[in-house]
Symmetry: C2
Subunit: 381 residues, 2 copies
């Protein structure tokens, strides 16, 4: 049994890399989105005993049924149009969908992405409009490390060499990478579509990696550090590293290499989850740098507002003059909902002007796409 | 058992998306490359019975050992510096390494990427040199579809608005995507380093997706077509679609949107595996378009040379004048080795000038990185 498994593993591995050969065995198509918005998933596993589909479009995981040639299959739905992470669990082991190119860039879990299109293409779907570009940049980061940024430039950027643009800095969450707002958030298509409809200003969007400490450790040959527990000294240090990177390295890099308008009213910053916490720390700590601030499923505690951010909270008249937008969003099933409501109450009690969007749903990228779509329309106007 | 598995699957799924929470359970670090170039892999699977590591740095798969907290572990090596695909097989199911951000973009299998650094950074490693950029472009493709390109622009490109550059079109293989030469081939870092050392001309590199038929089918709401068996009518049609896309859509798009020098001596084309076959079909069928042609683990049959490419094979004097480079490469353990040797013999017998590189090893991306590194140094000179 052991030898057979080793042989299977090796052959799988070898086979998996025989790129010129047509695949042996049955061809699996997954996912298949049907006209009526039901979705069929297929997974090849002739030896498995149980294969389960998990996904944020389901109320609970569903079992798949083994069919001919060892292909497990299930059809679910109709599914509401959106983009959802999903995975299979095969005899207890979580896997991505091998047949699906679309993946969820992440440091800790591996998932696939399902797109169920709207009858009319939604704001985050590929439409027939002018497209911007998404560029991966390697920049000199803090502590001698090299960082990676994903940068969106709007349609027309390259054709307008005399035009400069405002910049929107967008930070993802714990275990997300600099790719997640692109690959999962579809930020480039959201902006393409908003710009095409005249709903958003043409802007550059800069997406950094929020886990600066891990990159520094890995480039110095060390082990990647564990994510610290929230609200600990280590977590605070982690936040501060991203702030240093953004202020000292990323913004200067962007403003040297892109035609960015270099004033605070042309800089916006937003973030999801841990990225939202980093957003507030950076923005409230650098009020001379950003005039547009948004948090997606994140907030600052009354304690932080009363101490670290006292200059912001104690002078609402100045704060309201400086900030052209202070935007707060969360889903009403999100575990961040209670703390976000507390933050909103704090802002209100301290007469700090804000706008907010509370949606249904939880701590999901389906909500993040809504938050990007809504907040981007308010920037730089 | 069934309910428990469903619950585990759903909790895993839910947990996996609680991006703000520190992970419950033990922190897994994988892979860990040690100073002596041994590598430790870890995989969390408390309920698994057998976990195996497969990778192209191994002679055969190895079993991992279950340790505390359900973390499976193995240390292998020392491993020769290079970049290798790998995966785990968990009770018969192949998975990527959840702890590793680096993945292998692919339509059919899912693998992770291990980098074992050289004592001095190798040509495909991140070095402290000026970096180019890698841009994802969405262009109007054939049959009304929208295609995706990955485009490398060299260091200095943005700062030199009066300078135009030669273009290197680079096509990956069956099941690879437009990302594979970037994420696995590390083409951007190879070019950054070659250019920094004065070994390669600054150039633009354009990486298309070779599976045009699949994209068209999916965008038209149809099911992705199976890969046809080689040398069939369907395979030929598939090749022809990429040729149409390249000549009619991609090249005009690149030459409108990038500062590309618009003459045949400033266009090079290369491909790996199926991409190499597509390269020859495009180049030999469009001798007025490309002057530099390279194949990586691919070839043309004597039959094709005698029929489809007769204008090339029957007039060596003209062919040798037109082609500034005809470069052929393969590994001597590659299953493409016999047909490539046959192709080389054909070229020799027909007095068609060529250069070649035959390496050790098989049909791997370790070899492809060597081929890119060597052939890029010969282009546009």
């Amino acid at each position: 049994m052991k030898k057979q498994l080793l042989r299977i593993a090796f052959l799988f591995f070898l086979y998996g890399n025989l790129e010129a050969q047509p695949p042996r065995g049955p061809f699996v198509r997954s996912p298949q989105v049907h006209q009526d918005k039901t979705v069929t998933f297929e997974y090849l596993a002739p030896n498995a005993e149980k294969v389960i589909l998990g996904g944020q479009f389901l109320n609970s995981s569903v079992e798949m049924t083994k069919g001919e040639q060892g292909i497990w299959r299930v059809t679910v739905g109709p599914v509401q149009p959106d983009i959802y992470p999903y995975n299979f669990v095969v005899d207890g082991t979580s896997v991505m969908d091998p047949g699906n190119v679309d993946y969820f860039p992440n440091e800790r879990f591996k998932g696939s992405i399902l797109l169920v299109p709207g009858d009319e293409p939604r704001m985050y779907e590929l439409r027939d409009v002018p497209h911007g570009s998404v560029t991966y940049e390697y920049y000199p980061s803090i502590e001698g490390s090299t960082g990676s940024l994903v940068v969106y430039t709007p349609p027309g950027y390259d054709a307008s060499p005399d035009k400069s643009y405002p910049v929107f800095y967008l930070i993802s969450g714990t275990t997300d990478t600099e790719e997640t707002f692109f690959k999962v958030g579809r930020t480039n298509w959201i902006l393409d579509n908003l710009i095409a409809e005249g709903l958003a200003e043409p802007m550059i969007v800069v997406m950094p990696n929020g886990n600066t400490a891990a990159r520094i450790a890995e480039q110095n040959g060390g082990a990647k550090p564990d994510d610290p527990a929230r609200d600990t000294e280590a977590a605070f240090e982690r936040m501060k590293q991203l702030e240093d990177d953004l202020i000292k390295q990323i913004i200067p890099y962007v403003e040297s290499n892109y035609r960015a308008i270099k004033d605070r009213e042309s800089r916006a910053i937003a973030g999801f989850s841990r990225g939202g916490g980093q957003t507030l720390r950076v923005a409230y700590g650098n009020m001379d740098t950003f005039a547009w601030v948004c948090t997606y499923a994140a907030s600052a505690s009354p304690k932080d507002m009363d101490t670290d951010f006292i200059s912001v909270s104690s002078n609402p008249e100045q704060t309201n003059k400086l900030l052209k937008l202070n935007w707060v969003s969360v889903g009403n099933s999100d575990f961040m909902y209670p703390s976000t409501i507390e933050y909103i109450k704090y802002l209100d009690e301290h007469k700090i002007k804000f706008q907010s969007l509370i949606t249904a749903g939880g701590h999901t990228w389906m909500n993040v796409k809504k938050y990007v779509t809504e907040s981007a329309q308010l920037l730089f106007k």
